[in-house]
Symmetry: C2
């Protein structure tokens, strides 16, 4: 009976699918297929699939929202044990989830962790991992409330993070309007370059700052909340897959296009020093490297001064890198010489 059902499924999917495996459709193709069949009639569900964070109304007055996000890290895909310090791994596993809550301007609160661990993993590794995890949890005032553990050949870490926010304050990928400015916090590309250096040269002297950005990213929780509660931004997302690809997600959900001035992308001094050993194009990794965990947001031009002043008071660089255009313009990059192009490959995608 079981085998028959499986065969029927296979036949049916052969008829409807001309593509055959994940590699052909990629991560975003997969997500598109998953979303396809899902429509919600639940009035409490403010945001379901389609953002990094799900948003559910709670409470009798429905002014508060519950935020939920999840991220999985897998050994040899997201991290390499040969250069991973377990304490930093613990911090990072939580940080990537905190960044999702930050991208909405939410307040992170509780998390659950599922761990797949090899039988012969040393207890010192586990102790150190939990020490890093708990340190990060304490720093951002979030609490470990549950989880699951299992045997696994490779280390698997899944965190599900819950947060809260005032419904009226929350920011989404949708909402950007034509004429808005596009801003990014921090200096994109550092983490991706840090990873390239680790892969090619190991932990070499002078590149520690870039390597740290990869191994131990700092989620912009405070900045996200500051932007959200002031009602300045029209849309926001965190940059995890890469500046261009996450910009394209924001454009897609907002139904707009964008012009990004390449020479306005803020590059750190260390990045500028090291990038020439890896690429002729100094902007390539900054545009498509991934794992920046910076915030990308749009806001009306009249708020430029106030956004600059917030950046100074929080001591976080915030740079205006583009302007929102009508949807037909798509995603356009303006090079230093004034020529513009539409990038063909935006950034990192699993399976492809």
């Amino acid at each position: 009976m079981i085998s028959k059902k499986y065969s029927k499924d296979r036949i049916r999917s052969r008829i409807t699918d001309t593509k055959h495996d994940l590699q052909e459709i990629g991560e975003f193709g997969l997500i598109h297929r998953i979303r396809r069949g899902i429509t919600s009639s639940d009035p409490a569900l403010v945001q379901g699939i389609g953002d990094d964070v799900a948003v559910i109304e709670v409470g009798e007055t429905a002014t508060k929202a519950l935020l939920v996000t999840t991220d999985i890290l897998i050994e040899d895909i997201h991290f390499d044990l040969s250069w991973t310090d377990p304490s930093q791994l613990g911090r990072k596993a939580l940080a990537v989830n905190l960044s999702d809550i930050a991208s909405m301007g939410g307040i992170p609160k509780y998390f659950l962790i599922s761990l797949g661990l090899p039988k012969n993993l040393s207890l010192s590794f586990i102790s150190s991992f939990y020490r890093g995890l708990k340190k990060e949890a304490k720093r951002f005032r979030v609490e470990l409330i549950g989880g699951d553990t299992s045997l696994s050949k490779k280390i698997v870490i899944n965190i599900c993070l819950l947060g809260e926010g005032e419904k009226k304050d929350l920011l989404f990928r949708r909402g950007a309007r034509v004429g808005d400015d596009l801003f990014i916090s921090g200096t994109p590309g550092d983490a991706a370059l840090g990873l390239r250096i680790l892969q090619k040269k190991g932990k070499i002297k002078g590149a520690e700052g870039l390597i740290k950005k990869h191994l131990s990213p700092c989620p912009r929780v405070e900045l996200g909340q500051a932007i959200a509660k002031r009602h300045w931004a029209t849309a926001m997302i965190d940059v995890s897959d890469g500046l261009l690809i996450d910009t394209s997600h924001l454009l897609q959900e907002s139904g707009v296009g964008v012009r990004v001035w390449e020479d306005r992308i803020p590059l750190s001094r260390l990045y500028q020093k090291w990038i020439r050993f890896f690429s002729k194009d100094p902007f390539q990794l900054a545009l498509s490297g991934g794992e920046d965990y910076e915030l990308l947001f749009t806001a009306p031009p009249e708020l430029r001064e106030r956004i600059s002043s917030l950046a100074r008071s929080l001591r976080i660089p915030i740079t205006r890198i583009g302007e929102i255009l009508p949807i037909k313009e798509g995603l356009r990059i303006i090079k230093e010489d004034g020529k513009d192009y539409s990038p063909s490959r935006l950034g990192f995608e699993h399976f492809k």
Copy 2:
């Protein structure tokens, strides 16, 4: 700097730990260590680490509670692709989480799914997996609201399920009192025997009922809610690791002991037919096999009649198998001949 910190951690943990790897402490030893450092001062946190489900007060009047649980399934640990139908795998991934919410008497509502998938996995597998997942979701009226996807060598499935309940109705592992009866729903051991049959003989004729219990368990969501809202039970847990080991969890959290009459353990007709090919002791798998996803609960003796009548109306067998004793008695099994013993190995544990 990074390597130094790691070394320091290693030295510190060498001083405090006489054990060296996961295998020595086992899954429950690991969980004990994780819990050790965690104390909560958050008044909204009704139940943190220590149960399968975390419970958080929500809303202005704090009568409602948010329930959160997570379970991870890993290829070659929890399932074997050679006999796994992807649609059943999708159902089961959700079912094991539904069972946790059922064990509190909660109402499951929303879930997030993280998937680690091999690059060359066929789209027909994925379509079938999602078809099973969505079917189970529809049946139990829960909604997929988010998730994450990643490349992985082995398939990894992590679900985080959210539910809700009236705080006054929820049941926990703690709460059993001396003199209470111990009840179990369904017929334990079927799923474990089904797995043994698959492993030794494959999908053979005549054993489909047992195999189905392993591949496609049915979470007792309706029963859990019925027991909880009537305020009959004093403590409840779902049987996932095995009847004895989950009984021991209930005893530990309640601070009591128990006497279980072996010959009262309800064995299905199919189980009785097939168990003799696998074990001389017909009760061994029923006591320690795991993956039953039945409910185990305690209730005062004066409710026996009413519990029987509920079982009849829901058409779910509920059997009285033991009585709660003072803690000093521990976990005692009474054999058919009246002799009793304390089992040394209770059931399945990861890493050991």
